[in-house]
């Protein structure tokens, strides 16, 4: 034991001189230096038993890292990254697909113009994601899994992420062929497939033939849609009884609205109604072959 202590002080001197990263962790108790006992800030999980990060967390991270590296290596040995013909700007492949993680947006081009599908919608997605913590004032469900106490939030996220984002990526990857036409997996891609262009604008369908009248008609439809959406959201929330999923608000709907405030309500409502608008546009396209709802010389929606 004596020799071990001797070694330790030797290490301490070396560590003090060279400040070697790993060795500093082992500075012995008798080394004279009072080592930091990092203060543990308690911001959650008060009273729950705590484990030492070393070894309990580091151990599982280490094992997981090994597992991931093994899987990735085997995968990379078995499956080669694609490399096609040299680039040729004069030869456009049909279909030209964006990287798979953007295919949800490319799929949106079926229903919207590029400025909306490719610029405005993704901006809404990014800003909307960032705003989630500030819009969601339900204090329940912080740090544990629960569906009962957060139904509304979880369903919104599910619709936005799983249904709109992920399933559209799957559609774009596996179900779209030449001309961005729908092909079932295994079906032969026919580049000469003719799709009848029977889409009409909604104002045209209702008999409007000039731009001004069409624009006024379309704009009032969209404004009306938002008014109805906001009103529906407002009354739906106000009629919520106390209890789940908002057990944190014993006053029920009116208390939720009061604590939420008009700004949060306005932004949340806008994002949800815009998201629902994607579904409505899709339904109108598939059921009635509607091309645009709002038609103006500058923008079409």
């Amino acid at each position: 034991m004596a020799s071990r202590e001797g070694n330790e002080s030797a290490v301490a001197m070396r560590a003090a001189g060279a400040a070697a990263g790993g060795a500093a962790a082992r500075t012995p108790a008798g080394g004279g230096s009072k080592r930091i006992e990092a203060p543990i800030k308690k911001t959650g999980g008060g009273g729950e038993e705590k484990l030492h990060t070393w070894p309990f967390l580091v151990r599982s991270e280490f094992l997981m890292a090994i597992l991931v590296i093994i899987v990735l290596t085997v995968w990379s040995l078995l499956l080669n990254a694609p490399l096609e013909q040299p680039s040729n700007p004069t030869r456009t492949p049909n279909p030209s697909k964006a990287p798979w993680y953007f295919l949800g947006l490319q799929e949106m081009l079926v229903f919207f113009d590029p400025w909306y599908a490719g610029v405005v919608l993704p901006s809404f997605i990014i800003v909307g994601l960032m705003l989630i913590p500030y819009l969601d004032i339900n204090p329940k469900g912080n740090g544990y899994y629960t569906f009962r106490e957060r139904m509304f939030e979880i369903l919104s996220f599910f619709i936005g992420f799983h249904i709109l984002w992920v399933s559209f990526i799957i559609i774009g990857t596996f179900f779209r062929g030449p001309g961005w036409n729908w092909f079932w997996p295994g079906q032969v891609w026919d580049p000469h497939l003719v799709e009848a262009l029977t889409n009409v604008d909604l104002p045209y369908m209702f008999g409007f033939r000039d731009y001004l009248a069409s624009a006024i008609f379309g704009l009032s439809l969209i404004v009306g849609y938002f008014v109805v959406g906001y009103a529906g959201l407002y009354y739906w929330i106000r009629s919520r009884p106390s209890g789940d999923p908002w057990s944190a608000f014993p006053g029920g709907g009116p208390e939720i609205l009061k604590k939420w405030g008009p700004v949060r309500f306005g932004i949340t409502g806008f994002l949800l109604i815009a998201m629902a608008g994607v579904f409505i546009k899709m339904a109108l396209r598939h059921a009635l072959n509607i091309k645009y709802i709002l038609v103006t010389p500058w923008i079409n929606i």
Binding site: E37, E48, L57, S60, L72, S96, W115, I132, N142, I299
Partner: protein, 257 residues
């Protein structure tokens, strides 16, 4: 024959001159040492010294944040290897891809690992975000770390997208063309977007030209994407990662109140 005593054998080994000349001193498993292992180690001190019991469970974390970071590190290591053999100019880029695949030792493996890790990272980021949402971990006091996380999500996609162009094959230039054409449709700033005439933008001077470094995809775009991919976005992502991890360490893992 004396009974075999494992502890005695272990003591003999660790007390031997050879062992002590290598390892100098042992590791005593005390609570103090366990904390020092984390707080005194430049890498491990990204963790808090202690974590709540539930936060260690895989069922709670899915380990997706850690896997994202690990895959990022894999792309850094394999990416550096690829950079040794890849020239971001239109004449050589594609030929260098072939050279990497057929002539370089482990070139194909490095390229495969780089690409699959990049794709895996995108998926892992999404799953991480999904998990954080499901546990409500963005709720106070961690709201801003969620915002940082969304920025990191965007950076992950940008890293992946800029890397997509570099093989300089048909797949890459047309995928990037389709993706970047969206910039052409930006209201006001893109020459194909609504109200473009207000600012007088045109194909050689608009939002897409800013991304491409010219009116259409070409050698200038390749160099631009290469620098964004290898230097700019990794640096920015590194800064935001530091903030992201630091805030997790300060606030601790979320848990039931």
């Amino acid at each position: 024959m004396a009974k075999f005593d494992w502890n005695e054998t272990k003591r003999q080994i660790t007390d031997s001159q050879a062992w002590q000349s290598i390892f100098r001193h042992g590791y005593e498993d005390t609570p103090r040492n366990r904390i020092l292992m984390v707080s005194g180690n430049v890498w491990l001190h990204l963790h808090p010294s202690k974590v709540q019991k539930h936060a260690v469970r895989l069922r709670f974390t899915w380990c997706m944040g850690g896997i994202t970071f690990l895959l990022f590190l894999v792309t850094v290591v394999t990416g550096v290897y690829l950079m040794f053999y890849y020239r971001p100019t239109a004449e050589y880029a594609y030929a260098d891809m072939k050279y990497l695949e057929f002539d370089m030792p482990f070139g194909m493996l490095m390229r495969n690992m780089h690409r699959w890790a990049a794709h895996g990272m995108v998926i892992a980021v999404w799953l991480h975000m999904f998990r954080v949402f499901m546990t409500g971990s963005y709720k106070p006091p961690r709201e801003f770390n969620w915002v940082v996380g969304v920025i990191l999500l965007v950076l992950t996609l940008l890293l992946s997208f800029t890397g997509y162009l570099l093989p300089w094959d048909q797949l890459s230039i047309w995928a990037v063309t389709v993706g970047s054409n969206m910039a052409r449709a930006t209201p006001l700033l893109g020459h194909g977007g609504p109200f473009h005439e207000v600012l007088g933008v045109n194909p050689v001077y608009d939002a897409r030209a800013f991304i491409f470094g010219g009116a259409e995809i070409g050698p200038h775009t390749l160099l631009r994407f290469y620098i964004l991919h290898c230097i700019f976005f990794p640096l920015i992502a590194g800064i935001f990662m530091a903030v992201h991890f630091w805030r997790i360490r300060r606030d601790g893992m979320s848990g039931p109140l």
